[in-house]
Point group: C2
Chain length 142, copies 2
Amino acid sequence: MTQTSFRSGCPINLGLEVFGDKWTLLVIRDIMFAGKRHFREFLASDEGISSNILADRLAMLVSAGILTRAEDPGHKLKAIYSLTQKGIDLLPIIAQISRWSRAYMPVDPALAATGEARDRAGPGAIEAQMEALRAIHLSGDA
Amino acid sequence: MTQTSFRSGCPINLGLEVFGDKWTLLVIRDIMFAGKRHFREFLASDEGISSNILADRLAMLVSAGILTRAEDPGHKLKAIYSLTQKGIDLLPIIAQISRWSRAYMPVDPALAATGEARDRAGPGAIEAQMEALRAIHLSGDA
DNA sequence: ACAAGTGATTGCTTTTTGCAAGCATAAGCG
DNA sequence: CGCTTATGCTTGCAAAAAGCAATCACTTGT
């Protein structure tokens, strides 16, 4: 069966079936805002993801079409992960989560700074950041 | 210890620690868009949440200050769940998830209709919907 | 009195996560 | 060459969470 049998066709549910867990969006955050591209970079996140979970999530994100995996030319062991447009389009979701947490959760001021700057810069800032990510990750090299 | 010891102070992470699972936002969706207020209404969702998970999530959402629980006057066994402002402010996140899924996932057209209408209505539609939820859930009765 | 409805709880199996260690290969360096 | 380090994972096992079906104490409605 090539049918993946979702719990329902509701848009909210379908999104949650892809990234509705405690780790997936952190990987996306790291590649988006910290510029991480390699396994061991993701592994060194503040939250301390373990390697088996990371391997699982990276494989899932690749198979979901949110990331692509390529070999580093000239360094055969290095894998380079890149965002697809589908992945870049997760940025508005992440930006909204950031806004909500900055309003209601005890965020670290240093880590909240980039989100605050984005909000201060107005609605075009997200589009600009997505365009920047497109330039880095799409159609070409890193 | 009243300190809940989060994995990190990153806004994205803090949000995920609250609603980063496959069920929590579905409960919020149901109270926001389907007008559900009672345990057995949530239980009857399309995705088939089981009662122990639902009970756990409702209690967590109440203790997180996203929902409040009140007794139905005149029906002592009935509990009424209401959104707080903190809960209503999750709407922009849910709306963005909806947008992403409608772009990339095989959504049910009927279930996608409300999100499409919201997008067509422009940026003020979310604010309007939040105001409507405020009128229903805040400072007063249902 | 009785059946149906209320928000859960309990017991149990299956799945997922978390953690530490290890693995096979490849670069880097003398 | 021979050693250390770096690379992206994999494995084994314990703990936590999810999933499922049955049940509970109590209330309403008839």
